[in-house]
Symmetry: C2
Subunit: 347 residues, 2 copies
């Protein structure tokens, strides 16, 4: 069922061009040790025959697969976007993208990923958060001899096999925006405690508030699970506090939608009585009424960078990583869900 009319091979090309396989191989692999004229002739024959080198044979001989893997946990719009970015680079470079979903929390997560790597024989891996934060994953991958680039929010030293999202600048902007609107009583809905990105968002928010000598009281922090329902539950708690927060920052958009939902149910007007901010910049943030102020991530830049780094790592080795940026900064986008602090009750 695979190849209808048999595809031409490197031998056909060699014969037709009157050169040896080796020369054709050199042309395919863009070696510079080929005479201009010879190269031209070979290329012409390749084109004429519509020859596509067999990736399996190539890989078998060269101990590569020309495949890269994308590993993620839950598929989200963010992941879709990353996938698209990676795919764009792949297309330009002759790599194919193999995808793999896995459960970060599973005890066998590492085994599972290593198995994927050996089964699929990918040349390298791009690992999305939170899978990328699994303890012990890096050594396991190193042991398996697999190149990888991780998305993370922790800046580290050493070989730069990572693309780091620095949350602080955007969260600072967001905080200033709210403080300038007069807000002093903030509520925060965090992501799951185990999630490093979530913790980083939390930390960044605390640091940003500290710039204004503001604190985030313990009872104004509720742990969520990055889901809508957890956002609903958390905001119910926050809105029952006294004093009530005048602004709530949710660690992702989905939970922010939960806040908006509860507010609607309680008749609390956004932004007149409550400001809400999300995180992620899902398209839906612009669809809701009022539109959600949020922090958007630059998925295209992130994924492009990660892929280029990975390919450089595969083809040129660790040193090549130094040529690249490591940091990516999201951006705060104020929309309709944030506004001036309401006048004090009873005043």
């Amino acid at each position: 069922m695979n190849t209808g009319t048999k595809q031409p091979t490197i031998n056909d090309v060699a014969a037709m061009a009157g050169v040896s396989k080796r020369t054709v191989s050199r042309v395919i692999n863009a070696s510079d040790k080929v005479n201009q004229a010879t190269r031209a002739r070979v290329l012409e024959v390749i084109d004429q025959l519509d020859f596509t080198p067999n990736r399996q044979a190539r890989g078998l001989a060269a101990r590569r697969s020309y495949l890269i893997g994308l590993v993620y946990d839950i598929p989200t719009l963010f992941i879709s976007d990353v996938q698209r970015g990676v795919l764009n680079v792949c297309e330009d470079t002759g790599y194919e993208l193999v995808v793999h979903a896995c459960h970060t929390d599973s005890k066998e997560a590492i085994t599972n990923i290593v198995k994927f790597v050996t089964r699929a024989r990918v040349d390298g891996l791009i690992i999305c958060s939170p899978v990328s934060e699994i303890d012990g994953l890096e050594p396991a991958l190193k042991k398996a001899g697999c190149a990888y680039i991780r998305f993370t929010s922790t800046l580290g030293s050493g070989p730069r096999k990572r693309v780091v999202t620095d949350y602080l600048p955007a969260i600072s902007d967001m905080t200033r925006h709210l403080v300038e609107f007069g807000h002093r009583d903030f509520g925060f809905i965090s992501g799951p405690r185990g999630n490093i990105s979530a913790r980083k968002r939390h930390e960044s928010f605390v640091r940003a508030l500290a710039e204004y000598d503001l604190e985030l009281p313990k009872n104004m922090i509720v742990e969520g699970a990055f889901t809508f329902d957890s956002g609903v539950a958390a905001s119910r708690k926050l809105l029952s506090r006294n004093p009530q927060p005048t602004a709530i920052f949710a660690a992702n958009d989905e939970m922010a939608f939960g806040v908006m939902n509860v507010a609607a149910e309680k008749g609390i007007k956004i932004p007149e009585e409550l400001s809400v901010v999300g995180f992620d910049g899902t398209p839906f943030a612009t669809f809701v009424v009022p539109s959600l102020s949020t922090i958007i991530r630059k998925t295209d830049e992130m994924s492009r960078l990660a892929t280029l780094k990975l390919l450089a790592l595969i083809n040129e080795g660790t040193d090549a990583l130094l040529k690249f940026e490591t940091l990516v900064s999201p951006q705060f986008i104020p929309r309709q869900s944030t506004g001036p602090v309401p006048a004090k009750k009873g005043s």
Copy 2:
């Protein structure tokens, strides 16, 4: 950078088990012509050595790749879900999933897909709509000798290389729901004219209305583009008609969100003054206020079915397709955005 400690090969296994490669090969490929005892011994050695057959070598010799491809246009949550479903089946069957995004409207769409197939050497393809509806794609794929299963909304005869979504039942349910609520004046926001799925939704709605001797006047139909903005634009038009529609059906959720947005802006209350229905069952439909009545698609069932069909087609040939279902029906889910028709103005 690929294989750290050299991986064991079939030769190692053969030597260690004291049999020939051929026998190991038979065991790997689950041939029944192997003695129980021999098989057991081989399996034990395989386990002991942690041997994973090299997919490239296997593929090269057997003229297969053990790769299947997923082709789509725009990445959406629907596509993510499909991808997950496909991946689940792949994992159980030793196939890997290679993804490919392409532009349906491009003149080179077919060439692009055929190139992908020959480059990646996938054993088969799962093609999402609207890519799956491209004219001439099927013959091109047949010519390239590539197995495929398409998602489509058109039931056809011949070999069943498709998984068909039949919109009518769910749209009928939705229509009944609205008619029973007293609605008679309907607005419809279609998908792009060129999109067959979109046309099918339109047709189904017209047929469903006909059951109640209702018609969809021309000025109550506005073409959208499956985007939020197009939903906004379309609903502005519809809501300026006289008489105004009391219920609007949008051919996807995103456009329905556009309707809700315009309604909010105009102070039109949903569902008291206007009922809104979407199509797709995105999670966000439950996040908005009021929650959106919509028609959900059974992505898991669809993608599972498509993948099983594809694998059967690859491994057993066309006849095997007959063992499978072809039809999948979405389901109408009433939520808060639909309600009784408002009392006539001025009455």
